[in-house]
């Protein structure tokens, strides 16, 4: 079952009892949301810390999420936003570290690849994933939820909190860059 299939189950008009709804949403979306967050931040612990926060934030706004579709959209938005802030923090941290001594930078570059990085390489499609990582952040952040969760343009726009037109632009540019990167290296 794909992540999108998992998320699309259930009608929008089911009875909305907070605990039951939270349990249902957890069952339907927990795995796919953690995996989405992992695809964005590439760190399982961070991903598993961020997604519960999204569930808690949603539970404190029950009045606004009166059906499952709205709640799922809210969860996706929270997860993508919090993953973005992790990435932003990481970039700032990276800039700070790179401005420090060159010895520290050199140490960082010779670090052993993590278990997750090795898993990525062994999973196949490493070249495509590496090319994805070379894209500008916004293109990468648009392509990942869109193709992992099989979202439409408007759903992606909602998740990334940008306009549908921007999603279209970033998707087009991102795919073009990916294609030239993959074909150039092959």
């Amino acid at each position: 079952m794909t992540a999108a299939q998992g998320e699309d189950t259930g009608s929008a008009d089911t009875m909305w009892v907070p605990d039951q709804a939270l349990t249902d949403l957890y069952a339907v979306s927990w795995h796919s949301l953690v995996r989405l967050s992992w695809l964005l931040v590439r760190d399982q612990q961070l991903a598993e810390e961020r997604v519960p926060d999204a569930f808690v934030a949603m539970s404190s706004h029950w009045s606004r999420q009166q059906n499952r579709d709205l709640a799922l959209a809210y969860l996706r938005r929270c997860v993508v936003n919090s993953s973005h802030s992790v990435l932003r923090h990481r970039r700032v941290e990276g800039r700070y570290l790179s401005s420090q001594t060159s010895a520290m930078t050199a140490q960082g570059s010779t670090k052993e690849p993590s278990a997750q990085a090795r898993a990525l390489q062994s999973a196949g499609g490493a070249r495509l994933l590496a090319a994805l990582g070379h894209l500008p952040p916004r293109q990468w952040q648009v392509l990942t939820p869109r193709y992992y969760l099989d979202l439409s343009q408007s759903q992606t726009a909602d998740a990334v909190s940008i306009s549908a037109g921007s999603v279209k632009t970033h998707t087009h540019r991102g795919l073009t860059a990916l294609r030239s990167d993959v074909e150039g290296t092959s």
Binding site: T23, S60, L128
Partner: protein
């Protein structure tokens, strides 16, 4: 590579890589956190209703006080109007309610409030 090929391959790679991540079960923890969050939010909402009611009462009182203190001339006109339009016996009972007007003096009576003289009964035209 066509755009469709690339999209399909990207989708497939993302799924395949993501499947390798096995999230830990945290349902009970999330439910507990959600309950804790709700319990923290509830007391704030409990204060909201009485505070809103009190604010409403204060606003209403201020409005009533403002109207009664600034609208001093209004009862005079009202009393005068009533004095003109009602018979003298009724005017005597109405006048004391106006606090600042000792006697109902019809000073500013609009022309359309003046009682019209009784019109004579309409006569039928003489038969031809």
């Amino acid at each position: 590579m066509t755009p469709d090929d690339l999209e399909g391959r990207l989708r497939e790679v993302l799924h395949r890589v993501a499947e390798r991540v096995t999230p830990h079960e945290r349902r009970t923890e999330i439910l507990a956190m959600a309950h804790h969050e709700t319990a923290q939010v509830e007391p704030q909402r409990r204060w909201l209703i009485p505070a809103g009611a009190a604010a409403w009462v204060v606003l209403l009182g201020a409005a009533v006080w403002g109207v009664s203190s600034s609208g001093g001339s209004q009862p005079e006109t009202l009393a005068a109007t009533r004095a003109v339009t009602s018979p003298p016996a009724a005017a005597a009972t109405v006048a004391p309610t106006a606090r600042q007007s000792p006697a109902p003096v019809p000073l500013a009576v609009p022309s359309h409030h003046r009682p019209r003289p009784p019109t004579p009964a309409r006569r039928e035209p003489p038969p031809r």
